[in-house]
């Protein structure tokens, strides 16, 4: 009997060793991946720095990162510099805020109505899908004709882009609600109010949130593009002006601000997803 027992492995001890080893491997792996993820952009910046210092890049257009950093901090250390940048940021945020607010509200509303009401859908859907692929910036001249130069026309362009993105996503979300939910509301004789507010709209919520997120990205693209063309203020104007006077470090500062906007938008989107569709885990 005893030799059988000695032949049998000692599961507890083995498990412990295995678990320790696996946990260590996992930890090492995640540290490695973190180092790689952080390291890669640092390597890129270093390469840029070296290339600029050895005149492999044209310093007028690509000054070294350290030069850019130095001029940015010099710019931001002056009161007038900070006020100037804040003014541009405020102008852009206002345009996005107005355009996104109107566009998303209208888009979600019309999307739901189209999903709910056959005749509206039949009337509007073909036109909507026909216009959708048009790059919105291409309609900007029209917007200027209608709304004039400045805030109103840029907000209108943002409104339009956000509207299409949210409307089409909301519509397809509501329209293609899983048929099982239709069967449930019909078989249990749900009243119309309950059908829409507690079944179909929540069922479409993942698509609605996707539309709202894509709309926010679209808003950022459009506002910067519009400001390039026709505004006295805004972060797009700041980038363009800096470029025109070949103040490249300031241009990069503008780009950094746009990246920060995008980062904030993504964070807000993630938060909205967790709040609005907690059941939809990917």
């Amino acid at each position: 009997m005893s030799h059988v027992e000695t032949l049998a492995p000692q599961p507890a001890a083995d498990d412990e060793a295995y678990v320790t080893k696996t946990l260590r491997m996992r930890r090492l792996l995640s540290i490695r991946n973190l180092l790689l993820g952080v390291g890669f952009p640092i390597v890129l910046l270093l390469a840029w720095e070296v290339a600029a210092n050895f005149n492999l890049l044209d310093k007028r257009f690509f000054p070294s990162p350290s030069t850019i950093g130095a001029s940015i901090s010099a710019f931001l250390s002056t009161q007038s510099g900070r006020v100037l940048l804040a003014g541009h940021i405020n102008a852009t945020l206002l345009r996005i805020g107005i355009g996104y607010g109107i566009g998303a509200t209208a888009g979600v509303l019309l999307g739901v109505i189209m999903g709910l009401h056959g005749p509206t859908r039949a009337a509007i859907a073909p036109t909507l899908y026909a216009i959708f692929p048009l790059p919105k910036i291409a309609i900007y001249p029209l917007m200027i004709v209608i709304f004039g130069l400045g805030d109103a026309s840029s907000s209108a362009l943002v409104t339009l882009g956000v509207f299409f993105m949210t409307c089409i996503n909301t519509f397809s979300g509501v329209r293609y609600v899983d048929t099982i939910y239709h069967d449930v509301v019909n078989a249990f004789r749900f009243p119309p109010f309950v059908r829409w507010l507690r079944v179909f709209i929540p069922a479409a919520m993942p698509a609605i949130v996707t539309g709202l997120r894509l709309g926010l990205g679209q808003a950022l693209v459009l506002v910067v593009s519009a400001e390039f063309v026709s505004a006295d203020t805004g972060i797009g104007r700041f980038i363009w002006d800096s470029w025109q006077v070949l103040n490249v470090p300031r241009m990069f500062m503008g780009l950094a601000v746009v990246l920060a906007f995008a980062g904030i938008a993504a964070t807000v989107g993630n938060f909205a997803e967790k709040k609005l569709i907690p059941w939809n885990r990917r």
């Binding site: 939910y181 019909n186 907690p278 059941w279």
Partner: protein, 266 residues
Amino acid sequence: MSPSLRMSHLRKSYLTKEGAVVRAISDLSFELNAGERLAILGPSGCGKTSCLRILAGLDEHYSGVIHWATNLSQDASRLRSATVFQGDSTLPWMSVEQNIAIGMSGLTLDAASKRKRVEKYLDLVGLRDFARVFPHELSGGMRQRVAIARALATEPLLLLMDEPLAALDAQTRLVMQTELHRIWAQTRSTVVYVTHDVDEALSLSDRLLVMTARPGREKAMMGASFDRVMEPLERRSLPIFAQMQAKIWGLVAEEVGQKLTRETAP
């Protein structure tokens, strides 16, 4: 006992997208007594699900007469029929208790009675401890219990089940059969149970309706030959179970065979 439901000469045709007419049910009649549990069996495509959808009120385009015994306009606290679907039909954005409560949203019930029913049927399906949990945190079998509780909470005149256990694994299915049997005994439900699983039909029903291949009509109607209080596992242990099983398989196989011959014929 007077029949709780009488269906006479039900016919049902579909128009396909290509414009062809497909007759799903050619002539189907049966009666169902209050508290009776009827299983409908048949080859796939025989119209058993069509029949169930008509009874569920999900399909109003049919000919024939369906006579319901109770005048439900007098009782707005119950549904005429409630359905448990084959796939997962819980609403993922609602907790278990909300899922059960919303099933009653079409009924005239005060909040207190609704609350009472939710608790009662949560207990009955054994999900009391999961009242505030969301469906994605539950197993497939537990989600199906939620769907069953939602249907039972409407205290329907007729409980309809469309292969409710088909999506579950074999072990869970066996456990759930016993559970269903117990639940029906407690609620005294009148049930129409569609399945293609002969064992399941025999384990759960009082009567079995075997349908022909499309267009579906009655091939055979027979009693399950068990004491109705007898549990599924006990039924399976009796010699008569195997005999019934063989007999029904024979009937179904004939239909499947015919369908195959017809489909492969030049």
